[in-house]
Amino acid sequence: MADTARDAPPEQTDFHELEDGEELFPEPATTQESQPASLAAEDISTNSNGPKQDSLFDDDPEDLFAEATEEVSLDSPERDVLLSDGPSPAITPITPPTSVITPRIGHTHDDMFTHSSFDEIEEEEGGDSFDIHISVSDPEKVGDGMNAYMAYKVTTKTSMSLFKRSEFAVKRRFSDFLGLHSKLASKYLHIGYIVPPAPEKSIVGMTKVKVGKEDQSSNEFVEKRRSALERYLMRTVKHPILLKDPDVLQFLESSELPRAVSTQALSSAGLLRMVNKAADAVNKMTIKMNESDAWFEEKQQHFENLDVQLRKLHTSVESLVCHRKELSVNTAQFAKSAAMLGNSEDHTALSRALSQLAEVEEKIDQLHQDQANADFYLFSELLGDYVRLLTAVKGVFDHRMKTWQKWQDSQMLLQKKREAEAKLQFTNKPDKLQQAKDEIKEEIEELEGKVQQGERDFEQISKTIRKEVSRFEKERVKDFKTIIIKYLESLVQTQQQLIKYWEAFLPEAKAIS
């Protein structure tokens, strides 16, 4: 469907699709604001790295936007920024990108908003700032035995007009989350969006829960998972594009959700995924791309380094959590021992002081435990999230390479066909000549289209990635800062408690005579 659009001059195509777009939008509440939202709106990058080709858009806009909302203004100040120099990829600018950014739901109503800037979209929301909070809570075991599962309550609180209500809750199970991620990944990853990965499956952990072991480790597992699911959702909705995806909205809002079966590890879909992953890995090794844009090379190196650093950090934090738990155990044991010593001490005041010491140490043990939890939930899990996120980031770079490869392949094929066309002149079967010539001409035209599309796709994904990377880095820095602050605050609390305990103990020690 998209292909037919490519042959015609883009403006007309867009025009047609424009009308379709208004009806194809599935959301019943078709406010003007939500319409552009559902599209993977391609935009002129607001960052200073915008490619120069955007200057060509001057000619098109008015027609395109006649039917669309009026809020999109192309003469926005941001565009001036874009027309400044940024490292431009070595491609000749052509027509505005078309369906390369089509979310695969099968609709191609994205083009009209290719010009809106990111910021403009957010402004379009009628002044809606990002205000949404999702919590995952109340894990409830449903069913028995090996078919049992955990149901989580997903509560959304928001003032954004994107949603029908300001506060609502639904019940979801783990596979629902996986299903959501799977859908988002298939729609957005290949065009350069960093889709947050879902929490990991754990057969061991889940089995314990299913079997009904009500012990601390299975409680910890459920809590760990609940927290991870919450972070996953928050991260997903923080992404301005993903937030408006209909699947996301459906996930958050609708009470019934079709069961996502293809997420099961051993299903045919699961196996297919594994095979694809392996194939991808092989392909990646064989693609040798001429990187014309130093920015990408630099960023890839940066992410490689970051990956190494984060993994190292993650290991250290996990080690810390382990040692702190150990410390807690040892402190508790020491406390008991000190109490015994106090009991056998026959000097009364000293005996009392030793018992007090034992109590202080017991309280400190509790502090260590709490600190270990903080270490874990704040730090360790965040690092784990980022290690996984980086995989998604790297994946997006890989997709860009694949897109490039596709484009190059089309170009090579075109070249071959042109050579074949030239050779046709020397064929010695004059009757078949005309037919062959026509055939080849058709093929060439088609390939020319493909090449153009390939180039546009490549350019588009490059642009998207630049934006996404910038966003990712901002988020990362913000996240880490937040976590560090929270962690330090937890340390502050610990110190305050310590002060309390030791201040209470000091007079007891001094009272020994």
Partner: protein, 399 residues
């Protein structure tokens, strides 16, 4: 060395209010060589038997042990708590760690390497200081003891400026020692079963047996606790370094400078907090417990010696009765009995005082340590709090 004063009685070490003149001993210097430590023992004394009023000699660990053993083996001192021998200087673990660090230098950043090296060197220094303190405490306890300070071997130890040539015990001697201890513990069980006529000693026996075991347990547990704390501190060190590296690599961040600054701050913050606590607990609590483990053992040994003397006395009585009954070797038996009686009474008398002093010393040492521990913990917690709040201020201010 502030370890020392911790373990001694408030009773002044150097000024002797009794008839004897002043005797002050300390370790003024120490040198750590590859496999041994050389202590410079410095003495100031007005005792007539010394050639000078102030002098120094160099001694090694084996010589301290020799001195200690000579006390233990001396029958005259059976009625005293012999100050426990200082533990052997043990730098093996620390040296191993330093060596491992050197080998692994290539695998970490220069930053990390320098940090860890500093850590390990500090650890080495701490162990070194501790071993010096332990040796000094031993000498000071001897110098403070009204009887032991007069011991000839002690004076030789302090003054003779040549090597004492006391090689470490060879295998045979070590084996003899081992059996002696085995016999002693078997005896200990035997003797412990006999109820003492004297209430004071009966109470002391019960108390010491239990106390010693509990101190042993507490000492072991405190060691474990401290090791865990050190492990956690090492982790924090590594984490802090990683955070710093992350921060310095962040070329995309707009406020790179502030970020780096705050990360650096955070890092040194975290590091200081954890490392400090581990060091202080170690010093105060663990050393105290370890020392009293040894002291309570020495006290137990005293009780054992007294019990042995009691048994000998009782046996001598029985022998005398038998001799009188048979009217044979009566004089011999009488002499023997009198000797045993005298020995037992002498030991009992001094033992009583020793045990009372032991309690006084113990209570004072615990008090001092516990107070200092609490004060240090408070000082650090407050300091850490300030540091953390400052750090938070910087981080939050950058948003």
């Amino acid at each position: 060395l502030h370890c020392v004063s911790v373990l001694l009685t408030p009773r002044a070490v150097n000024v002797d209010l009794q008839t004897d003149a002043m005797l002050q001993v300390d370790i003024s210097d120490a040198l750590s060589e590859r496999d041994k430590v050389k202590f410079t023992v410095h003495t100031k004394s007005t005792l007539p038997n010394f050639k000078q009023n102030e002098f120094s000699v160099v001694r090694q660990h084996e010589e301290f042990i020799w001195l200690h053993d000579s006390f233990v083996e001396n029958e005259e001192y059976a009625g005293y708590i012999i100050p426990p021998a200082p533990p052997r200087p043990d730098f093996d673990a620390s040296r191993e760690k330093l060596q491992k660090l050197g080998e692994g230098e290539g695998s970490m950043t220069k930053e990390e390497f320098t940090k860890m090296k500093q850590e390990l060197e500090a650890e080495y220094l701490a162990i070194f200081k501790k071993t010096v303190a332990m040796h000094e405490v031993f000498l000071c306890r001897v110098a403070a003891h009204p009887v032991l300070r007069k011991d000839l071997n002690f004076h030789v130890f302090l003054e003779y400026n040549q090597d004492l040539s006391v090689r470490g015990k060879n295998k045979k001697e070590k084996l003899e020692d081992f059996f002696k201890n085995v016999v002693k513990s078997a005896d200990g069980v035997l003797v412990a079963g006999v109820k003492d006529v004297d209430d004071f000693f009966e109470h002391e026996k019960t108390f010491l047996l239990e106390y010693h075991n509990r101190v042993k347990d507490a000492s072991a547990k405190s060691d474990r606790m401290i090791r865990s704390h050190k492990n956690a501190a090492d982790d924090i060190n590594r984490i802090a370094s990683s955070l710093y590296t992350l921060g310095t690599q962040d070329s995309t961040d707009l406020c790179k400078y502030e970020q780096m600054l705050s990360l650096d701050f955070t890092r040194s913050c975290l590091h200081k907090i954890e490392a400090r606590i581990a060091a202080d607990e170690d010093l105060k609590l663990a050393d105290l417990l370890k020392y009293y483990l040894r002291e309570s053992q020495a006290a137990k040994d005293l009780l054992y010696r007294r019990s042995r003397a009691l048994v000998d006395y009782e046996n001598a009585n029985k022998a005398l009765d038998k001799a009188r009954a048979k009217n044979r070797d009566v004089l011999q038996a009488e002499t023997s009995q009198q000797l045993c009686c005298h020995k037992f009474e002498k030991i009992s008398e001094s033992a009583k005082q020793e045990l009372i002093d032991f309690k006084t010393r113990r209570v004072a040492a615990f008090r001092k340590n516990l107070v200092e521990l609490a004060e240090l913990e408070l000082k650090h917690a407050k300091g850490n709090l300030q540091l953390l709040q400052g750090c938070l201020g910087i981080l939050k201010g950058n948003t």
